[in-house]
């Protein structure tokens, strides 16, 4: 099972990027909210990594 990790990168302009990996369902949103705190959200999106890696695995099985 993939480890659940949160990577936060804080720059010198007062912006942060949040990168969450390995989460399932609502716990992903909860972790995002924990790390966002009271900050304003500039961008928020689900990553396609999960879907891409799943389809790659299926393709390899077919070969």
């Amino acid at each position: 099972m993939q480890e659940k990790t949160i990577t936060i990168t804080i720059d010198e302009q007062g912006n942060s990027t949040l990168d969450l990996n390995g989460f399932a369902g609502s716990e992903c949103n909860k972790a995002f909210e924990d790390f966002r705190g009271s900050d304003a959200v500039k961008l928020e999106r689900k990553k396609t990594v999960y879907f891409t890696s799943q389809s790659n695995a299926q393709e390899q099985i077919r070969r």
Binding site: I6, D11, Q13, G14, N15, F23, D34, S38, R45
Partner: protein, 138 residues
Amino acid sequence: MSKYGITITEVREEKFLVEALKEMGYEVEVHPDGAQLNSYYSEQERKTANIILRRAQLRGAYGDIGFARQPDGRLTLIADELDAYAGYGSKWLGRVQQLYKEKQTLAMARAKGYILKKREVIQTSEGQQVRLQFAVRR
């Protein structure tokens, strides 16, 4: 599921702002009810702030610099316009916010049981970045 987001730091928690300013080497005055900032020109409008750095320790500054609590809870920078050109403009504020966000994040993570796995300082063309990696306690 994985998620990605960009957030803009809003300074609201006095404790972490004071810690950030102290780490930058300043002596910090905290005034819950606000106190007056001294300006370069005596005829300038008198301003008040809740967290104050006095001019004597601000190299090249024209006046005191402060942070004032706003009705929406944010602590915003109050400074003489001239001080933006004396090294206390957006770049300086960005560094304050960076330290604030790191301290706030580490405290929140500790309180909520996240485990700090790695801390890195990265030099980029846009300045220094602090990268913190956490794992979830099983």
